[in-house]
Subunit: 294 residues, 2 copies
């Protein structure tokens, strides 16, 4: 990671997390529910999605506080999806980021409800943004609903489950990832463009960047499952191979997956050249995602 | 049921259901997910919540199409809560409205995801309302998020689960219901007021009406569990007594619960007298809720 990116993260990560926790702590709700919601929000993670919201705003010298709240909303959606995904009826994972999963600590009923509450809260956070015009809030809410719902993330999870019972080909695998993880990453980046009044061309370039970053991120995830250790990953390594899951390395070999990763990395960088601004932070972000080992 | 109310329902129920199904059918998502979402949406029910949205708009001679979409959004939230509530880790119900529950037909994973998708879609529907100013959409989205999330419905479900392990007193039981079922009913009625530009006073009176109608509805539910048959209810009768659940009849005797029901009915009607309009439809609606046998 470059010093520039590290400095950006060191400066913004604490603010993002403070906003995230504060948004949940200030609601009036049963303590057990808030505890369960906060447990998973506080379980760590790289906060890539909210960092992207802030990084895109940064590109436009948009320093508004609201980027943190939009970032917190995306992180809530991401976290709810992990809580539900870990449930015994879904992936049945006991550990996540080196800690027991939500339902292991709070039981399945509360875990299900904590996920529901985080999903619902994310839209309330967007509706209550200060200093953002109503029309922009409506646009953000619509984008988040499409990105996280049946047409995006949830639809991708269904495709992923359907894919477990058979082998997917490359276009099918790509389609799963564009929905399951790509749509929310795209929202993170596009929402920054909406908040910052980006031009149509700038926004399109950022969406293109988001598309390739999303796929690169997922390919690296698949690669790490093979070359990473459980300790580094904070979750069981080698799970994909064991479950005979369709992955990029399984379809393309490890070498082919690495080549595909580089390809998307290059496309992401080339999308940024269409923006006449200093995109170095977003370039470094792309490199960070490709080079990460957890 | 009066002829007037029957005519209102006969006219609006088909429109509400058409809008509800259409909103799901037109999204681009995996067919299995759409099937699972539509299965529960089509499983019937009285559609009281969307009918209330339309009935309140009717009070203000507001005939706009958008009331149907707002009603559909509330029905999606209500339906998602039932799907999750029926899961084995929650109430573990195999039957609902005389049909196998969602997870019995589609499996727990898809049922969980169909619930998530309906929750998310409801906010998208509000964001995409046509002919409604952005500021109003934001207000509706904020109201729905509060009503259905940790501070409302989901919070009430947590209180309800907490309450299963001990006896609740009357204020505690009321607190559960005000959140678990009352908040969404209140949204149905308040959203009609927002759509129709009701005055502050009219809106406050409608919210008061909603509060008492919500409690009356729940007391009648508790009573029907004792005096109704499984056939009438489309679900197992006598479940509350069997599980030793805190209910109005358990706390107040059946006679006392009936008296409490009448009390809330009277308060609801008296709230309507503060509105200088023809509120007969809402009066009849109140009576219908109190007299219903399923």
């Amino acid at each position: 990671m470059t010093n520039h990116l590290k400095q950006f993260i060191d400066e913004n990560l604490p603010k993002i997390e403070a906003e995230l926790y504060d948004l949940v702590e200030r609601i009036k709700a049963p303590q057990s529910l808030k505890d369960s919601m906060l447990y998973s929000l506080k379980a760590g993670g790289k906060r890539i999605r909210p960092l992207f919201v802030v990084a895109v705003c940064d590109l436009f010298h948009n320093k508004q506080q609201e980027a943190l709240s939009v970032g917190a909303a995306v992180e809530m959606v991401h976290t709810y999806s992990l809580i539900h995904d870990d449930l015994p009826s879904m992936d049945d994972d006991d550990m996540r980021r080196g800690k027991p999963t939500n339902h292991v600590v709070y039981g399945e009923a509360l875990a299900t409800l904590a996920g529901d509450a985080l999903n619902t809260l994310s839209f309330g956070v967007l509706a209550r943004l200060e200093n953002v015009e109503p029309q922009k809030k409506v646009e953000l809410i619509n984008l988040l609903s499409v990105a996280s719902g049946a047409e995006g993330m949830v639809g991708g999870q269904v495709l992923d489950i359907d894919g477990e019972s058979r082998s997917l080909n490359l276009p099918e695998l790509e389609h799963v990832h564009i929905n399951k993880t790509g749509a929310i990453l795209r929202f993170s980046i596009e929402s920054g463009a909406v908040l910052s009044d980006a031009t149509k061309e700038e926004r399109a370039a950022l969406v293109e960047y988001a598309h390739h970053i999303g796929l690169a991120f997922q390919i690296q995830d698949d690669i790490l499952d093979i070359v990473g250790t459980s300790e580094e990953l904070g979750k069981t390594a080698g799970k994909d191979v064991q479950s005979d899951k369709s992955t990029y390395p399984a379809l393309l070999t490890l070498e082919g997956a690495n080549a595909k990763l580089e390809e998307h990395y290059d496309f992401a960088l080339s999308a940024l050249t269409k923006i006449e601004k200093n995109t170095s932070l977003l370039e470094e972000f792309a490199s960070y995602i490709v080079k990460r080992n957890n």
